[in-house]
């Protein structure tokens, strides 16, 4: 029963999403972006043309049926809308908040050619938040296949594989080393960008599907993969152990007190709730003058946490503003909150006081070189350009490489000796029979949605493998 409606006039401006005022939010850890109201979601959804050949979907790594869920919003069929998303994406409340939509779905939206693209992420978030308030529905229970799967790591990749395989009727056990699930979503991305209650809710959903989540299990130490397959009776294993090994600069003085890896800082602040010390037991010691080295999402998160803990923050990045790899929205947010950036500079040495605490940093100026064949610009040091900065806290956010324990303790599992990534084919199969891998551990640090995409592909391949295995 197709309705015939007069064509709506195209509204080129997207509906803004309310945020906490910069001055206010720079002092608290509450969520910055407040989400659409129902009326705002209606208005934004009404801008969607429901294209018959939607381009947005082609740019989504997990192929969320975008026009379908937006149409559901227009028709106020919210439960149907969220169900449509969940056929493809088990973590919509997360993706609606942290996906780089500007380079994915929204970059292909046809309205984007004439004005603002549809705010797909915000609408996805609206439905996910609606569901959280109104209760979620579980899909019908599948018939058990009798096959057992072990999933290692409860980050986006692992949770996706677990959800997809349990829906196919396989028995799934998920082993997570930390004492909470969620991976980077729990220990890395701060509360003000992604509230932990939301992450927990998404983890709970996967558990409600029937996944047995076992916390405090570091695979490679507490059990090895061969043990899981031989003694544990698992028919297949998925490795989604992420990229959590912090990189350091190698500059002299880096082991002084007050110099944190981004991960240490974020784990103290987010996972262990150091910002609530002494109510929570894990302390975080931070000075007045904080320098964050790096320019990605991780660096932005460290900088914004530091400002919330009361410090002045200077971001030191070796390339220029145009090369900053962080999400655009977060760069804007951070600058509104008072972030100062020093571009084209890199540290050389750190100096400490008599108690071994950092007190200053020597740095050099850099310049961009001509773009290489791939169009990427390198950097080189400008001679005699050294300068010194007074600092009392330094946070090193120059990247993470894959957690190495599984690679070291699993015989026959091929990995790249230079990058530490586990070697996989296009569907995530590793060099071992029945063992699959995906997400940051296979690609190096990337994005939530790409980890989920890899999880989707691996889950499909694993299902085929399990079905054909006698």
């Amino acid at each position: 029963m197709a309705e015939t409606k007069p064509k709506p006039k195209l509204n080129k401006k997207a509906v803004e999403m309310a945020k906490q005022e910069p001055k206010v939010r720079a002092k608290n850890f509450k969520e910055v972006a407040l989400g659409y109201t129902e009326a705002e979601a209606q208005e934004e959804a009404s801008r969607c043309l429901t294209c018959p050949k939607p381009q947005c979907m082609t740019a989504c790594p997990v192929e969320v049926p975008i026009p379908t869920f937006i149409k559901c919003i227009k028709e106020k069929k919210y439960a149907e809308g969220i169900a449509a998303i969940k056929t493809k994406n088990a973590l919509p409340a997360v993706c609606g908040r942290v996906c780089p939509q500007e380079v994915q779905c929204q970059s292909k939206c046809v309205i984007g050619k004439m004005g603002d693209p549809i705010s797909i992420g915000r609408l996805e978030r609206f439905l996910a938040d609606w569901e959280r308030e109104n209760g979620s529905q579980l899909p019908p229970k599948p018939t058990p296949t009798g096959k057992k799967v072990a999933v290692i790591g409860a980050g986006p990749a692992g949770l996706t594989v677990a959800a997809d395989l349990i829906k196919q009727g396989h028995e799934v056990t998920e082993f997570e080393a930390l004492h909470v699930g969620g991976g980077v979503l729990s220990y890395g991305i701060p509360e003000f960008r992604l509230p932990k209650a939301i992450v927990q809710n998404e983890v709970n959903y996967v558990q409600k599907l029937g996944v047995d989540l076992r916390l405090g299990n570091l695979i490679g130490r507490t059990h090895t993969i061969p043990e899981l397959m031989k003694e544990g009776g698992y028919d297949a294993v998925f490795i989604g152990s992420g990229a959590g090994l912090p990189q350091f600069t190698g500059c002299p003085g880096e082991n002084l007190g007050g110099i944190y890896s981004a991960n240490e800082f974020l784990i103290r602040v987010n996972l262990m709730k150091g910002y609530l010390f002494p109510e929570y037991d894990t302390p975080i010691r931070i000075g007045k003058h904080v320098v964050v080295i790096g320019g990605g999402n991780v660096a932005m998160d460290c900088a914004r946490c530091s400002m919330r803990l009361g410090s002045d923050v200077c971001l030191v990045y070796r390339r220029s503003r145009d090369e900053l790899p962080a999400r655009h929205e977060e760069i804007e947010n951070a600058e509104e909150e008072g972030l100062v950036c020093k571009f084209l500079a890199a540290p050389v040495e750190f100096y400490g006081d008599e108690r071994g605490w950092v007190k200053s940093m020597k740095a050099v100026c850099m310049e961009l070189t001509e773009p290489d064949a791939k169009g990427r610009r390198g950097v080189k040091v400008i001679p005699d350009s050294e300068f010194t900065m007074e600092v009392d806290t330094v946070i090193i956010a120059i990247g993470q490489t894959p957690n190495p324990i599984i690679q070291r303790t699993t015989e026959g599992l091929q990995s790249d000796p230079r990058h530490g990534t586990i070697t996989v084919n296009e569907v995530g199969k590793t060099s071992l029979d029945g063992v699959y891998a995906g997400g940051d551990v296979a690609t190096g640090a990337a994005t939530v949605i790409s980890a989920m995409g890899a999880g989707k592909r691996a889950a499909k391949a694993m299902h085929e493998y399990l079905t054909n295995k006698k």
């Binding site: 080393a177 004492h179 959590g244 007190g257 890896s261 240490e264 302390p283 108690r355 071994g356």
Partner: protein
Amino acid sequence: MVPHEKGERVPLTISGYDAKKGTVSFAFHEVGKTTKELGCYSEGQEILNVTGPLGNPSEIKKFGKVLCIGGSIMIAPLLLQVKAMKAAGNQVTTVLGARTKEAMIMEKEAKTLSDKVYVATDDGSYGNKGLDFLNDLLKKEKFDRCVVMGPVVMMRDVSAITKPFGIPTVVTLTPIMIDGMGMCGVCRVTVGGKMMFGCVDGPEFDGHQTNFEELILRQRTMLPEERLGSLLWETSGGCKCGGNKA
């Protein structure tokens, strides 16, 4: 180990296990808030999360004559190694160190497990005074390996003593740790001029290559906060277990 929702993650060395009963045991001094609090737990009370064992297993094999030196609370896990070294066919001499006579623990156990036992106290109230006697011992006897577990200062001093004698010396380093799985880097130590992570590359390292001074400074980085946490806990009533502890 994470005691409860709001707790810290603290690293503890395993000092015993019973595979039949499925239990592990830990020995710790009540020094900060978390250990004081754990000390108040009553039998049967639940701990939020225990992950492990983490880190590399100790290298246990037949070396010949092994000198095992334990200080303070680390005597408990050391004796586990003594037992294993003995079982691997080594001749084991054990040295127990403590601040004072009263602080000495597990001497009887050490005697049953080892071929020979020496004791030493910082103040000389019991056995040898300090560890200088090791110099004489090493001049008299040849050892093929030395294992030290104890306070960092003690491990540093023992390593300095064994070095001229060329005895391979293994120390168990105890930097600050959070995740214990190689993700935060707070446990970084310098060994042989290279950055290593105590939790995944260790905990055992070559005592002759370890930069102990750096480790000592790094262990103290959160001291003011640790003291504050502990003090606040005590002034807010501290132990609420009903007073079965002093």
